[in-house]
Amino acid sequence: MKKIVALSLMLVVLSASLFAQGGSEESAAKEDDGVVKVALIVENTIDDKGWCQAMHDGILAAQERMPGEIEYSYSEKMKPVDAGSAARQYVADGYDIIIGHGAQYKNLILEMADEYPDVTFAFGTSAEVGPENVVTYMPESEETGYLSGIIAATISKVDVLGVVGPVDGGDAARYNRGFVLGAKSVKPDVEVMVAHTGSFSDYIKAGEVAQSQIKAGVDVLTGSSQQALGALRATADYPDEDIWWVGQDLAQLKMAEGQLKCVAASSYDYAPVIVSLVENVKNGVKGGYCVPMNFANGGFIFGFNEALSDLYGSDLEDAINAQISEFVNNPNSVDWKSVDYSQL
């Protein structure tokens, strides 16, 4: 019996030492080979043609820009209550950067950052500057909204525009208000109807909002977050009518209804954020800063739908390009907070 106990104890000690050695070797190897391990936690899926896909695509683009320097994993469908276990697993697996993609992960990220000071945590949207191992990012999406507003007001024949918002907060609030300002810059008397679904993922309700607005006379609509796909789909129910959509994700342009109805779209490009994040971690800067995303720092990309080129002329393209140049030279110049929906 004693022999068995002794043998068991020896095995336990041996295996523990082996595992410990393996862990340190892994750490040493990580420092040597210069690979930074990045983990992404999202509440939806990485192919949602919206919020989550933009970040996923950004990380993949960053991997291409920094070949062999980024190792990447992701966890989808993570509610904030479930995300903690995934994040802890990533910490245990030696990940250097853990991104909770959404403001709903803020509390979790701050708690984890306190618990694991050697790991870099990131979340957004948030303009707050967090602890020294936390990075936040804030898309200044009033710029993309402004462009969408210019396009919508220019192509509108009835001068009544619609906004299908998820909630009146975060980057969605900035986008929607930027849209209003952009539209008013072209046609000061244009009418803008704004309605919110109260959800980022209720496609059906977004479709209902769009139908309601179209029935009320709107001829150009926009919207942000993944729920906006429901609204885009609703515009496709009017294939032969002058009902158009301006998107907030370039992936929408590739969809069948996007080809039919989406005049132009802008996207968040997270690649510069990820590249700077990885470079900072390599240089020993774990956090304590906020990355604003705008046209000036390459945080946004924009594209027209060439299939609908008859709808917009070169004048509109020139106007949009001029506005993008203006944003590059003068970032953070759209006073989105000045918009009061009740005054529209």
Binding site: T45, M193, Q211
Partner: protein, 314 residues
């Protein structure tokens, strides 16, 4: 005037999924079983409904056939899941509330997983378009409100008188009501209580599946695993709201959907009012009506939620 016409014209199609699912749930509850898994069955119906036209019939002259095959498949899967639920709560006599929650979680998860496996990311489909009823759709105002919808809208509203007839005028309807009210008496008269309950669950499941297929094929024309967004639970609430009466359930579904249509229209008018309260309006309205419209003559089925065991004296 246009403002009101638009609210009415949109409120009617918005109500269809709720109407179908709640009439199905009414059959369940009339037989003595409540199925909180309605939400999950709707999700599976939505997925299967979308999968068939997506995988075999994208566009072309045959697209409509595949759309309707999707509708039928959604209903069949719903019926099958209703029977599975029956095995759990009738054969194994599991607690109905817990089993329903389990059913809901399983089906939503399964629909999402199967969707990712067979379809991938969010995809849209052509779906089923509107069917303008000849002549009637041309009537001013009324044509737009009542006769300019897709075919499933008309079918759904036909289910209301049909279910009234089935429930109150046919021997099977009598048996359903009997096993939900006093199963022991029904059993003593030679009615196979559990068989009738299985049949009711199949009907209820089929209608829930049909409701889901309506959402993916007619309303959203796409699928995502969170698209049901609580509508299955609202359908269960509407059964209580309607006191297990198909006509009152229809009014409940219409009230909810018209309130929804109204709040969306009002939001667009830029009235200085927090949109969060506007979004809550349909739910608050249903809760208030539930609280203040208690009909003492219309009690819930006496055996609702109680498993039947002919060996036990209850």
């Amino acid at each position: 005037m246009d403002f009101i016409v638009n609210i009415l014209a949109l409120g009617i199609p918005f109500s269809v999924a709720l109407l179908l699912a709640s009439i199905g749930e009414m059959f369940n509850q009339r037989s003595g079983i409540f199925n909180l898994g309605c939400e999950g069955i709707m999700a599976m119906g939505a997925f299967i409904g979308m999968l068939i036209p997506y995988s075999v019939g994208q566009g072309g002259a045959t697209a409509e056939i595949y759309n309707f095959l999707g509708i039928i498949a959604g209903a069949l899967v719903g019926a099958l899941l209703g029977l599975v639920f029956g095995v759990v709560v009738i054969t194994f006599k599991a607690k109905q509330g817990i089993a329903g929650i389990g059913m809901q979680l399983f089906c939503v998860g399964a629909a999402g997983t199967l969707f990712r496996h067979f379809v991938g990311g969010t995809q849209s489909i052509p779906g089923i378009g509107k069917f303008y009823i000849p002549l009637l759709s041309k009537i001013p105002i009324l044509g737009q409100i009542f006769f300019s919808h897709n075919i499933l809208v008309y079918i759904a509203f036909l289910f209301v008188p049909l279910s009234v007839y089935i429930l109150f005028k046919t021997p099977w309807g009598l048996r359903v009501r009997a096993v939900g009210t006093y199963p022991r008496a029904a059993d003593s008269l030679g009615i196979n209580v559990n068989r009738v309950r299985f049949q009711a669950l199949a009907v209820g499941g089929a209608l829930a599946g049909l409701a889901g297929a309506y959402l993916s094929l007619c309303q959203a024309k796409m699928f995502s695993d969170e698209m049901i967004a609580g509508r299955g639970f609202i359908a269960v609430a509407l059964v209580y709201f309607g006191h297990w009466d198909p006509i009152k359930i229809m009014w409940g579904a219409l009230l909810f959907s018209l309130a929804q249509s109204f709040q969306l229209a009002v939001q667009g008018q830029g009235i200085n009012f927090p949109y969060e309260f506007a979004v809550m309006l349909p739910y608050v309205l249903v809760i208030l009506t539930l609280a203040f419209s208690r009909d003492k003559k219309k009690q819930e089925p006496a055996a609702l939620g109680i498993a039947f065991d002919r060996e036990k004296r209850t």
